[in-house]
């Protein structure tokens, strides 16, 4: 058994992650010198997963998300896709192994992979809307998100989803709020079979080795770790029974890479873009100088309340 993370103390503790731990911010220069903290990782062992969806439920509850009650769509995958509220999703695939003619029911927990080289962050034009901590967690700062959707284009795993309610992008945060106080993510905490474990990336790789050995002894000769080098490795990794064929697991990319367009954006184009944004910032500053700070009118308040009410009734984020 992987040693469980002890429950937190009830006394207040200083957060272990803060802005001082950011190693990257979208559309910004490199932050000043930071001390790299040990990279963390979540290891999802597909071979131990029983598809109970405790992780999905814990994610909704910890993050206080409100997902719609859908309809049956011909699979156990519910809802049928990631949404701004469903940051993680069990994807079920019925796969007949051509070598043995045996059915295998592959159940993969989908969600943000927290790439070491995050395509979303590179694609993001909003300064500081996407950040990466020294421990590897890639997080969204919704106050700074402009809802442009570039992160979706930039993600090789098709993870972020744009809310139709507040027009912001949402994805798994690896429970950065929990990790900041020394806890593992909610999904890991809820997993009954330790199909999800959490620790330093080194620990996770070591743990995975033992699991792969066990799987090989059971005849899964291609069992292996999914930590794709095309994105610099990930802070969410999978143990797969058939690591030679990731795509059989509901389209997990065989060799994910950041789109060349995003790479180009990160190069020359980005500075052009930044110029445009600099202009916008300048315009804003001028606006401030001329008109003063924006005030919230009673009308704005009313609109905001209406929006909030709509959100609740339409089942957005709450």
């Amino acid at each position: 058994m992987f040693p469980p993370i002890p429950n937190p103390t009830t006394a207040p503790v200083a957060p272990k992650m803060s802005d001082a731990d950011l190693v990257r911010r979208s559309a910004s220069g490199s932050p000043s010198q930071v001390e790299f903290k040990e990279p963390v990782a979540k290891l999802i062992d597909v071979s131990k997963c029983i598809g109970c969806k405790a992780c999905q439920s814990a994610c909704l509850e910890w993050n206080e998300l409100h997902e719609e009650i859908g309809t049956f769509n011909g699979t156990y995958t519910n809802p049928p896709d990631l949404t701004p509220a469903s940051l993680t999703l069990m994807r079920f695939t019925e796969w007949v192994n051509p070598e043995t003619d045996n059915l295998e029911w592959l159940i993969r927990k989908d969600g943000c992979m927290h790439c070491a080289d995050p395509g979303c962050l590179k694609a993001c034009p909003a300064p500081g809307a996407i950040v990466q901590y020294s421990n590897g967690i890639v997080d969204f700062d919704h106050a700074k998100c402009i809802g442009c959707g570039y992160c979706v284009k930039g993600c090789p795993f098709n993870i972020p989803r744009i809310s139709q309610v507040d027009h912001k992008a949402y994805k798994c945060t690896l429970c950065s709020d929990r990790v900041a106080v020394g806890q593992g993510p909610a999904c890991q905490k809820a997993c009954p079979t330790q199909a999800i474990v959490f620790g330093t990336k080194t620990q996770m790789k070591e743990w995975a080795e033992g699991r792969i050995k066990d799987l090989k002894s059971r005849g899964y000769k291609n069992a292996g770790l999914y930590d794709p080098p095309g994105v610099g490795g990930t802070h969410v990794m999978y143990v797969l029974q058939h690591a030679d064929k990731p795509s059989i697991y509901a389209g997990l990319p065989d060799n994910p890479r950041i789109s060349p367009i995003v790479e180009a954006w990160k190069g020359v184009t980005k500075y052009v873009g930044l110029g445009v944004m600099g202009f916008a910032a300048l315009a804003g500053a001028l606006h401030y100088l001329v008109n003063g700070a924006n005030k919230v009118s009673p009308e704005d308040e009313a609109n905001a309340e209406k929006l909030a009410a709509d959100k609740l009734s339409s089942g957005g984020r709450s």
């Binding site: 109970c52 997902e67 009650i69 059915l103 029911w105 009954p192």
Partner: protein, 812 residues
């Protein structure tokens, strides 16, 4: 469970058959993944569907629902033919050499003594030959033609791998693979655990399904050892507690029994409960029955239960039928013979078979009282919900009273888990609105009744008027008070008979264990098997020390396990006849030359010499039973019987329909589809999904997100045959009702070849209804037949017949 959840980590082979542990018991399943990951244990799943358990299994074999006994008797035949039996264990610890009475026989699916009219047996020949010394006659050489081993060998010889395939639809090679994996565990250093649940109980021969595997476990020497056992995974978090407390019409707490009409007085009652040992030196622990019974009566009626009135024996009801089980209750309701029904934490309109019959029965009640934390379908049975619940309130006169109760998380108390652990829990929230604890509500009813009986008298007010009710607040007995009462206490001082100055038990103190209970009225205990749970040392159920010396999985300081904090029952059988562990790497207890010692509480008298006293101390034989005498209504050995609704006739006994002694009410027989019916050609089964818990969680938003809508599962082949689209609407109907559902066309169900004929399976999850947050849908019990197991009346939910067609869905 004979063992515990935590012990499963000690196993070499997990067989999940008659259950779906990963899906229905995901938290406990962690011990299976633990055994696999750390011991290299293998997991085998045998199920009509490729379940979530199968998804993580090393080997999966399909089986037609309702044919488990044919499969398992086939395994026994395989073990005997290939001599894969742990002989040292079997010879020492089972009745394999006992001689069965002359006159006992079996032919064409029936044992001697069958009465077709009564649907019952005269079981007098199903017993041992008794010698002149009063003990059972034993032939340890196994040469006697009527010894249990030779009878068993003969009985199972028909179940060849070929016949198993013809009956069960399990391909022969898959059957043989599973049998050989099980056979490996006949080694004293390899163990197999059986994890089963309602996939075995919900059949008209459910008890025999389980018994059959228990016999295999005995032949393999897997009972009483670490990583072995018969492990019933209970379907509710406290259903173990329900049976322990005897919440059934024929039981008294602690598996004592309610008297019958044939036992009008105490002597008659005790005459069949003496449990004289059937072999020399045996403990035959039920010899203490009277101590437990008298202590129970003292807990109930205190000073009113005296030696002079036979401990208030007359206060107990006397059964005129074997039991007033739920099926019988609804039958009586339907006949207008039961007028008032208290429904406490129970939603029978969803949970029992044949919804139309249940609704008709409820409509004949004068009063229905619902005690539940949730809104239930049963409470709303009279309300019209279109196709989902067609009712005409103007024609229903039943008065329905709903009393909202607290939820388990709003109350202190204990839950008994499958491993017999009584785990105390603390209130985590305050109840909403006017919700009250069940104990408060029952106290109100009791106090009012008591007052009325005192004032107005009645035919026999004594049992109510004299009921002990010594609670600080009589209007709301506290969980601690009730737990202490179940544990038991000393009523009056007891002195050492050899030294009258020495006080052995002091009045008013909690008893430390059931070992001190007495039959002279000086002790009281509400449930003898729980004695030790709340002693003078405090609430043992609240212990939370998870230390586990040498990682045996025993966790003796965590909560309290009945009986006597023992974690693996029959644990004396973990050693050979000389008291040495079969497996040194998995020691549990052992004989140190003077006494039994070890990691667990020994399940034997501490100084009982290993060669003298058998490990199965509750049995008068001291050993376990491969031949179960007359203790089960449907036979001393299991027999393959088809479900009452079966796609094929019984191959081994074509004339026998269903279980020949299962009780069927007259009107219900008419509502069974014929054997191999053309009208209802498909074999259906019903089951749970991980995302939901029975009919509760459809009230919860998150659970409803995860599995929102009613569906049925069918194979690609059947879908093609019937032009059914995945996620398209279908109508499914049985002889009792019709439902609309979405279809899930899946590779996880395949048609089975049964005696040369394909049998299609239709899988029906049980979780939907007309109340709650999830989409309105149909419960599976619209379709299921009204018949139960021959011994304990658990409904046959797992095997019945339906038809299916594509549809455009329900018209609201």
């Amino acid at each position: 469970m004979t063992n515990s959840w935590t012990d499963i980590k000690n196993t070499d082979l997990v067989i999940i058959m008659g259950g779906n542990a990963a899906e229905a018991h995901p938290c406990g399943f962690k011990w299976v993944t633990e055994a696999k990951a750390t011991r290299g244990a293998k997991l085998v799943v045998v199920d009509p569907r490729f379940t979530r358990s199968a998804a993580v299994a090393d080997y999966y074999a399909p089986i037609r629902q309702g044919t488990d006994i044919a499969f398992l008797l086939g395994v026994i035949n395989y073990l005997i033919q290939n001599d894969k039996i742990q002989w040292d264990y079997v010879k020492a610890f089972t009745n394999v050499g006992y001689i069965v009475k002359e006159g006992f026989g079996y032919q064409d699916g029936l044992f001697t003594g069958y009465d077709e009219m009564k649907r019952d047996y005269n079981r007098s020949t199903w017993d041992y030959e008794i010698g002149p010394d009063g003990y059972a006659v034993v032939d340890n050489t196994l040469q006697h033609p009527r010894c249990v081993f030779n009878l068993l060998k003969q009985h199972v010889s028909v179940y060849t791998p070929e016949l198993v395939e013809r009956i069960t639809g399990t391909p022969k090679d898959k059957f043989l693979k599973v049998a050989s994996m099980m056979a490996e565990c006949s080694s004293p250093t390899k163990t197999m655990t059986s994890m089963y649940a309602l996939g075995w109980t919900q059949h008209s021969k459910g008890s025999q399904n389980i018994r059959c595997m228990a016999m295999i476990q005995l032949l393999l020497g897997n009972i009483g050892v670490r990583g072995g056992g018969m492990n019933a995974l209970r379907g509710h978090s406290n259903i173990q507690g329900l049976t322990d407390i005897g919440l059934m019409s024929n039981l008294i707490p602690g598996y004592l029994t309610i008297p019958t009409e044939k036992e009008p007085d105490f002597n008659a009652y005790m005459s069949t409960r003496g449990f004289k040992p059937l072999r020399p030196n045996q403990m035959s622990y039920w010899q203490n029955y009277k101590k437990f019974f008298v202590s129970f009566q003292k807990a109930m009626w205190g000073a009113s239960a005296t030696a002079d009135n036979n401990w208030a024996y007359d206060y107990l009801p006397k059964l005129d039928v074997p039991a007033y089980d739920v099926l019988r209750a609804f039958e009586l309701m339907k006949q207008g013979k039961m007028n008032i029904y208290f429904c406490q934490g129970f939603n029978p309109l969803q949970a029992f078979p044949n919804k139309a019959k249940l609704a008709e029965a409820l409509a004949k009640l004068k009063l229905l009282v619902i005690m539940d934390p949730l809104e239930t379908e049963t409470a709303r049975f009279w309300e019209n919900h279109g196709v989902y619940n067609q009712a005409d309130p103007s024609k229903i006169q039943t008065e329905v009273i709903q009393l909202p109760t607290t939820c388990f998380a709003e109350d202190n108390g204990s839950l008994v888990n499958s491993g017999r652990w009584l785990q105390w829990h603390w209130a985590a929230g305050t109840p909403p609105g006017d919700a009250k604890p069940d104990t408060y509500i029952m106290a109100q009813i009791h106090l009012r009744l008591k007052e009325m009986y005192k004032k107005d008298g009645g035919a026999f007010p004594d049992p109510i008027v004299n009921l002990t009710w010594n609670y600080k607040d009589p209007h709301e007995p506290s969980p601690d008070e009730l737990a202490k009462e179940l544990n038991g206490y000393v009523v009056s001082d007891v002195f050492d008979p050899n030294d009258p100055t020495k006080k052995v038990l002091e009045a008013g103190k909690q008893v430390p264990t059931f070992g001190v209970l007495r039959d002279d009225g000086s002790t009281a205990a509400g449930c003898w098997i729980y004695s030790g749970c709340y002693t003078e040392a405090g609430n043992m159920m609240a212990r939370r020390d998870n230390s586990d010396p040498d990682d045996t999985g025993a966790y003796l300081k965590w909560s309290f396990a009945w009986p006597a904090n023992r974690r693996i029952i029959y644990n004396r059988a973990s050693c050979n006849i000389d008291g040495k562990p079969w497996d040194d790497t998995r020691k549990l207890i052992w004989w140190d030359g003077a006494k039994w010692t070890g990691y667990d509480v020994p399940d034997i008298a501490p100084t009982a010499k290993p060669q003298d006293v058998g490990p199965f101390i509750m049995n008068p034989e001291g050993v376990s039973r491969l031949f179960t005498r007359g203790m089960m209504r449907d036979g001393p050995f299991p027999v393959h019987y088809e479900p009452f609704e079966s796609p094929v006739a019984n191959l081994i006994a074509p004339k026998v329909r269903g279980n020949p002694v299962a009780r069927v009410f007259k009107d219900d027989f008419a509502q069974f589809a014929d054997v191999a019916s053309k009208e209802f050609p498909y074999a259906a089964t019903s089951y749970r999904l991980t995302e939901h818990f029975h009919y509760w969680t459809k009230n919860n938003h998150v659970n409803s997100v995860l599995q929102p809508e009613f569906f049925v599962e069918i194979s690609e082949q059947l879908a093609k045959e019937k032009s059914i689209q995945n996620a398209g609407w279908v109508r499914v109907w049985s002889k009792r009702g019709s439902v609309f559902a979405k279809a899930y066309v899946t590779k996880r169900i395949r048609p089975l070849m049964v005696d040369g004929k394909p049998v299609h399976i239709v899988g029906i999850p049980i979780h939907w209804g007309f109340v709650g947050a999830a989409k309105k849908g149909f419960p599976a019990n619209v379709l299921t037949p009204f018949v139960g197991d021959a011994n304990i009346e658990t409904p046959e939910f797992k095997a019945f017949l339906v038809n299916i067609e594509p549809s455009t869905g329900p018209v609201a």
